[in-house]
């Protein structure tokens, strides 16, 4: 066992991190002051980190510096618009912040519309045009038929412009089965993801802190 040395700066950091980890894990028993302390500390540190990051990574190099040295004077416009966001703290002029919001919403509406159209609609539709019969490959043919049947039936399930009865109802029901398989697979992967994060935390506790294993 090689405990991290709390008398060094790095070792002290490991000890604090380990204790905070255990404080948060204590919530599993029940809510308690240690957990509350860690939770509020986390929120404060995160908010502070984001502010510092936004200043040095974006606001200073993209706005302040180019305007001050004259290389891109027009960047004063987004700078002013960004500051206008804070007008919402003053009720009388709070409406000015909607101008800045409008920039953000308008830009992303345009960006996302084209992105989804190309990436998630056109390309996906193109890739769904599979041959339903591949000579000499029965397995691939069955898989393709199943794939197309699943796609079409699931799309029919989501089509609410007409009442689901008769053939449409049966097709939609098939779509529901495919959706359930999809959700089950997603659940399996979600379990894997959550467990991985816990494994990572234990690897930290067992290696840098307690030094009883090597990862």
């Amino acid at each position: 066992m090689h405990l991290a040395n709390p008398l060094t700066f790095d070792g002290l950091g490991v000890w604090i991190a380990a204790l905070l980890t255990l404080f948060i894990f204590s919530f599993l028993y029940k809510d308690n002051p240690f957990y509350k302390l860690a939770e509020h500390l986390f929120v404060g540190i995160s908010a502070g980190y984001y502010v510092a990051q936004e200043w040095w990574a974006v606001i200073y190099p993209q706005c302040v510096k180019p305007v001050m040295n004259g290389s891109r004077p027009l960047m004063i416009i987004p700078g002013v618009l960004g500051l206008l966001l804070f007008s919402r703290f003053v009720p009388k002029v709070g409406w000015l912040s909607r101008w800045s919001l409008a920039i953000i919403i308008g830009a992303y509406a345009g960006i996302k519309t084209t992105g989804f159209a190309q990436g998630d609609l056109v390309e996906q539709f193109h890739a769904s045009l599979l041959p339903l019969w591949v000579p000499g490959q029965l397995g691939v043919s069955i898989d393709n038929v199943l794939f197309v049947a699943g796609l079409v039936s699931t799309l029919v399930f989501f089509f609410f412009s007409t009442e689901h009865k008769g053939a449409i109802k049966s097709t939609a029901q098939l779509g529901v089965w495919f959706l359930m398989i999809s959700f089950g697979a997603a659940y399996g992967f979600t379990v894997m993801a959550r467990v991985s994060l816990l494994i990572g935390r234990f690897q930290f506790l067992l290696d840098p802190w307690l030094g009883v294993a090597r990862f």
């Binding site: 990574a57 069955i142 979600t190 894997m192 467990v195 990572g200």
Partner: protein, 303 residues
């Protein structure tokens, strides 16, 4: 085809086992009592089943899947001197899954003597990317900063950053993550926009990440993309893999372990797979026992 048969047979076998167990009265009574189990017992079981395999590893072999092989092969196609964009779009919360992917990707890229431009779309990413560059590129392969690799750091804006990089990467990142103007970095003189990089290696935890890169950059700027992502995101990206918008996909810690195997490393992902296996078995048991307990209690209530 065989897998379809296996899946259907599995469905029938599970149903038969459950129906059979419920017919045994002692089993039914015992199971019904389980309904009141305090969840903290389950927490203790999870704790033990994660800690014990980490301390006493079973060393179960990891077998790479076709997706990990595709990811590996795509990077193998690169030639020495090619420029690759490595976008580390994650933060410490996803570190256990994505950190090993980042390190193994850097290992393979450095072995190929590829030049790497790094960036992050998540604010928590730059230190993680820098740690990877330092541990692998600088310390193991003696890469020189500014000539062989550059860390551009983080930029806010998500999809807007991707589009801006498609127009001009030096214009989007006027300085690197240390504040050095990119004009002073020799590598950045060879990088104009996304079309001038051979491949995007995207390590992605969610939004913004692989989905946004695929939507905004794969066809618009003819950018080849391979993705290492969290297990939560992976199911959605199979569609992009099938449509060739993605050329390789690593999903979660299992994907990271498979990739570590391919790069010849026994890293933290590989060492975590025993614990992963045991907790998966526990969750499966919880699903089965929970339902058996519920049905047994209902049958007893009906009687």
């Amino acid at each position: 085809m065989g897998a379809l048969i296996g899946f259907l047979v599995g469905l029938v076998v599970v149903a038969a086992i459950i129906a059979g167990l419920l017919r045994v009265p002692q089993v039914a009574t015992g199971l019904a009592r389980l309904r009141g189990l305090d969840r903290r017992w389950i927490f203790i079981a999870v704790w033990l089943l994660v800690m014990l395999p980490l301390l006493f590893p079973l060393k179960l072999p990891v077998a790479p899947t076709s997706r990990a092989i595709q990811y590996y092969d795509e990077i193998e196609k690169l030639k020495p001197g090619d420029i690759v964009l490595l976008s580390a779009d994650y933060d410490p919360a996803s570190g256990p899954e994505l950190g090993p992917m980042l390190r193994s990707s850097l290992l393979q890229l450095c072995r190929k003597k590829v030049r790497i431009v790094g960036d992050c779309l998540w604010p928590g990413g730059p230190p993680l990317l820098e740690q990877g560059f330092t541990q692998v590129a600088r310390d193991q392969f003696h890469y020189k900063y500014g000539e062989d690799y550059v860390n551009l750091g983080f930029k806010e804006g998500r999809e807007a950053v991707i589009l801006a990089m498609g127009n001009s990467i030096p214009g989007t990142f006027a300085s690197d993550f240390r504040g050095t103007p990119v004009s002073q970095l020799p590598l950045m003189n060879k990088v104009t926009n996304l079309s001038s990089v051979k491949l995007l290696v995207n390590i992605s935890a969610g939004y913004p990440g692989t989905k946004e890169w695929v939507q905004q950059a794969s066809r618009r700027f003819n950018l080849k993309i391979v993705s290492g992502c969290t297990a939560v995101s992976a199911p959605e990206y199979y569609a992009y893999l099938q449509s060739n918008q993605l050329l390789g996909l690593l999903g979660g810690m299992a994907g990271a372990a498979e990739y570590e195997k391919m790069t010849g490393v026994t890293g933290s992902a590989t060492k975590g797979m025993d614990a992963q296996s045991s907790v998966h078995l526990l969750v499966m048991l919880c699903i089965l026992l929970g339902n058996l307990a519920h049905w047994a209690a209902r049958r007893q209530g009906e009687r």
